[in-house]
């Protein structure tokens, strides 16, 4: 079976494309990207602010149970056309990844299905490659959590 989410990243380029088809009407797919409560659920982070409009800005923050900030991100929305398009910047705090430009295209496939194309552009090839490597760290963390979860049940 072909994977639902596809990543197209060519060597030596400072960009990548992510595409995904959803069993959701396009307005719900769009809503998931502009409704602060839903964004918080999907991203697993606290949304400190989210102005879903042109020149609006947003800020995310995640803290651990001790109150220590473990994830920070912020950006500015440059274009927002309901059910069609979002252009925004995204910058993760305290990381060397720089600012990424994100172009989201929302497409209606049928009344019940839709497609998202994310075009993400970086300042340099090195920055893009570093971000692609996050997946490795993330995968290891997930595996680690899973092991802890299983180990927890064995207690």
């Amino acid at each position: 079976m072909e994977p639902k989410t596809k990543v197209h990243a060519e060597a030596g380029k400072q960009e990548y494309l992510i595409t995904r088809e959803f069993d959701l009407p396009v307005h719900l797919l769009f809503k998931a990207h502009v409704d602060p409560d839903i964004v918080a659920q999907v991203m697993g982070t606290k949304v400190l602010s989210f102005e879903a409009k042109k020149n609006g800005s947003y800020r995310f923050e995640t803290t651990d149970p001790q109150g220590k900030v473990i994830f920070q991100a912020a950006g500015v929305i440059h274009e927002l056309i309901p059910d069609k398009k979002i252009i925004r910047t995204f910058e993760m705090g305290n990381t060397p990844f720089g600012v990424q430009l994100e172009i989201y295209d929302f497409e209606k496939l049928s009344d019940e299905t839709s497609k998202l194309t994310m075009h993400v552009i970086y300042e340099s090839v090195a920055q893009r490659d570093q971000v692609l490597q996050i997946g490795l760290t993330w995968g290891i963390n997930m595996a680690h959590d899973r092991i802890q979860e299983i180990a927890g049940k064995l207690k």
């Binding site: 809503k31 998931a32 999907v42 997946g135 490795l136």
Partner: protein, 104 residues
Amino acid sequence: MNLRRDVFQAIADPTRRAILLLVATQTMTAGAIAANFDTARPTISRHLQILTECELLEPRPNGREIYYQFNPKKMKEVAEFIEPFRKMWDDRFNKLESIMKKYK
């Protein structure tokens, strides 16, 4: 895991990518490869060494010359390298889909 990272770092360099493109179409000697670049010969040798170490190139000694051959199998690992990143997005989108189905 480390090896894959090395492959990715190897192709992050524009000169090394150019070398791979050259060698992908035909096996070449170090001298023939270096002739395509303005870069000093020892620099090209260093690039060839890195590409060989991460197995993107395979050296084939032939008499006094070493011919370099492209190893497409290793390039496939580069695609596998981004698999965890793809998986990360896939999981996030699956979550999005299941959350939004409640709003239908």
